[in-house]
Subunit: 253 residues, 2 copies
Amino acid sequence: MGTTQLESVAEPKYWHLRTVLSEALDSEFSVGEILPNERDLAARFGVARATLRQALEQLELEGRLQRRRGVGTTVAPPRVGVAVGTEQHIWPGASGDAWQLSDSTFEVPSAAVAAALETGQDEPVHIVRRSRMTHGQPVAAELLHVPASSVPDLSAIDAPSGAARARAVLRELHRLDLEGQDSAVELGSARADDAKQLDRLPGAPVLVVTTRYFARSRTAALSVATYRADTCRLTFGDSGAVEIHEDPERRAS
Amino acid sequence: MGTTQLESVAEPKYWHLRTVLSEALDSEFSVGEILPNERDLAARFGVARATLRQALEQLELEGRLQRRRGVGTTVAPPRVGVAVGTEQHIWPGASGDAWQLSDSTFEVPSAAVAAALETGQDEPVHIVRRSRMTHGQPVAAELLHVPASSVPDLSAIDAPSGAARARAVLRELHRLDLEGQDSAVELGSARADDAKQLDRLPGAPVLVVTTRYFARSRTAALSVATYRADTCRLTFGDSGAVEIHEDPERRAS
DNA sequence: CAGTGGTCTAGACCACCGT
DNA sequence: CGGTGGTCTAGACCACTGA
């Protein structure tokens, strides 16, 4: 990775560095390999550590690198394709999906969620917490909001929380006929609780997927799921296995 | 915005600052309003400018702020919902869509695109460049790759490039029966050319939407579209108008 | 031109990990 | 404990905008 001349174009150093490093990753490193530490790299390229870090941040955002405090910087594997929307609509928690139930409570949601569910401002709803794993790594944390009116027979359950309660909420929800669903994706940053679940630091970039489930001509449930933006590629549509990467010959370690 | 005690939790300053500023934006600012400049803000909160900037970066990533060099930092309007996937599949460029044709060429695509299209490694394809506007703002730049085999009758056209050529490619493409499509969304950073089209700096966060269009049991076209992550919320499904925001009473200026 | 955000530096200390 | 990435500082200069 010889230092090409900086040219006259006034390209920022960190951007040029990103390009150089990106090409070096393609040609001289394999997945899982540990890079030299930041102080050494900065010295090698003749820049301040902050500048080098700016380049690394870009590459991490693009899913090329993985950095862990106290450990080091490693070459990331290609992003995992995660199916989040399919042609045939199904209820969350239907048999065989990739989610793991963790908890459920009955509480007043944020104003935004209440508005989407068309429930009263201070009306509590069931909140099911789930997490999604792929290849042994946590990739998503979800809050599924279910208004009491969608699961009228749940009152028999008296467990205040826990996975068993979560199962009960989903079981009751599945009794409704799902008429449709729609989703929206936007960029966000992980709040402290999500970050912990996703094994990231607070503020880490996440893809927020908001899904509305319709039944009986109403919004019967609202899911807000945060996916790790560095490791995930969200897929919609018939076949979830799109494989687009600039460097197809990268191999698993 | 009294400084709550820093507690023992060792929350980073920039994260605490982000929270404080976020609440201030909700309660004390309206959309379009200009914030004090970074040096003043940093002094007011008693932190270095770099730390203040880290907090602003977070808020910009979340779509709460908009920063422009030489101008200042303003409060951003709520994100625009942009429909990128619908129940009924349609060809790109069908009448009435929000895209604007800009150019078309015939050249060898990147290896990744060639692999997805199942064309030969050095086989040229038609590349149609389009951009998408919403509310007078550019929100997306797209490269639509069409293998020559999908538009066999195009050879009559001899214009080497230009919008007229782009129209011709799409017209020929529409003669095929669209059998299906699928999409993937992932986080990326804008390359120099995309950044210019999107009126952003290189490296700005973008949502990359890769869509495959199927016809005659093959991939007849491949679209790679980059959307501004700061201003867009991508919507999939029946109704594209999901409105989820933590602060519903924010008004346009 | 003055004022803004964008880049860059050379340090320092902290939180975390594995040994 | 030593080594890693994460945070923070106090400066400097540059690129761009608008008056």
